[in-house]
Symmetry: C2
Subunit: 244 residues, 2 copies
């Protein structure tokens, strides 16, 4: 029987989603261990994508097959009882047998949170990147338009060069100003390693007057990572939504 769960997690304490070896400190590892314990036999799960170490999720989707039928509410309760408190299961449902959390993704939305003030955001400081220089949001919005479309994003990634395609489609980049907080939301088919964080660093440099908007074209043309902005910290990044 195939199931899907929606989870949220605080990624601060983890080396990311993807399990690499037994008992490593990954979110996948915690969930697999928990389901394995529940079923008395080894269970593996598929997540909707890799997230880097320290990245959070408001809504991450996981699918898995269980050898025996169980009530979804039972699975949810069991997981919430035994998972660490920085991972929460908000929903569990039976899924179509062909459903796969990663292979069926159509769109994903990531949100990057910036705290732009000389004051400290005491209670959310673990979930925002504090940048207290000036930021021209209109300029950032203008620049953000250049990311929308289908392009080779190689210059916006720190992944090793492989034969895999680095072409991705971004549907929208929305910038919201909520008091001293600036949120940048990226919706696209998929994102390369560090891509959202490098695009955000590039937008911040533009908003701060350290870089011109047109520099984005050159990064696309050359594919050179060193021409793009810095990689902003993982702690401000959240996977917000996955559309199938």
């Amino acid at each position: 029987m195939n199931y899907m769960i929606n989870i949220s997690f605080d990624g601060s304490g983890y080396s990311g989603w993807q399990r690499l070896k037994e008992n490593d400190n990954t979110i996948q590892g915690k969930i697999e261990n928990c389901l394995t314990q529940m079923c008395g036999r080894k269970i593996t799960v598929d997540g909707c994508g890799r997230t880097d170490a320290g990245v959070h999720a408001y809504n991450y989707v996981v699918s898995f097959l269980l050898p025996e039928e169980k009530e979804p509410c039972e699975i949810k309760s069991y997981l919430n009882r035994y998972l660490p408190k920085d991972i929460n299961v908000s929903e569990c449902k039976r899924a179509d047998e062909r459903f796969h959390a990663r292979l069926n993704v159509r769109k994903k939305t990531y949100c990057y949170r910036i705290w732009n003030s000389e004051e400290h955001n005491v209670f959310n400081r673990r979930y925002m990147y504090e940048f207290d220089g000036t930021l021209d949001v209109e300029k950032m919005e203008e620049a953000a338009k250049l990311f929308c479309g289908t392009f080779d994003f190689a210059g916006f990634s720190t992944g090793k060069k492989t034969k895999k395609s680095t072409v991705r489609t971004i549907f929208s980049v929305e910038i919201k100003k909520l008091g001293s907080e600036i949120q940048i939301e990226y919706t696209g088919t998929g994102f390369l390693y560090n891509m959202v964080r490098i695009m955000t660093g590039t937008l911040i440099e533009i908003g701060n007057g350290k870089r011109v908007i047109e520099s984005i074209n050159e990064i696309f043309e050359t594919g050179k990572r060193e021409l793009a902005g810095y990689t902003v910290p993982a702690k401000g990044l959240f996977l917000k939504e996955v559309i199938y």
Copy 2:
């Protein structure tokens, strides 16, 4: 010149407000060190009250005399630049020369936050007490009324017996249900050591059916701490407002 500042802080990493010796890990200590550095001579400050280790504040008031006149916005900027990120100065003003942050307090409001769900509140888990038993909020509201008035709260405190009065006046106890979160707000003239946390533990035991409402009368009559409920964890407690 006399000044007052409003601060918020995440108390998780501190042994409370009150400085006990040089370079201890207290909020008072951090602020005094910072102002001393700014003025080039030793500055001491008065806070609006002691807060226990691990207790937070949305709005805590501090007053202090500086040897030389400074612009309030300069003081605020300096403090926010050099204080740790878990303490924020939201306002700085010149104060009447007779103003004293502790002696002039008329009312204080504390808020205790309970997360009442089998799910985890991933991003606020450091600032709520997770209690997943059932809670009858109406019963808790009925019981809370018994706290309102002027009484000897000795039984609701773990302070050592001293000659100081343990009589306090509570004006109101409000219980709010916001989804899975329950907030209990206590407004009074002042509170004894651990008093809000023991009253909250007592209300939780009543809401959970482990204790009857009338037991509160007996705690008042005998003044015996062991008859009251347990001391709930500091992490759910916030100083919310101080009225002068």
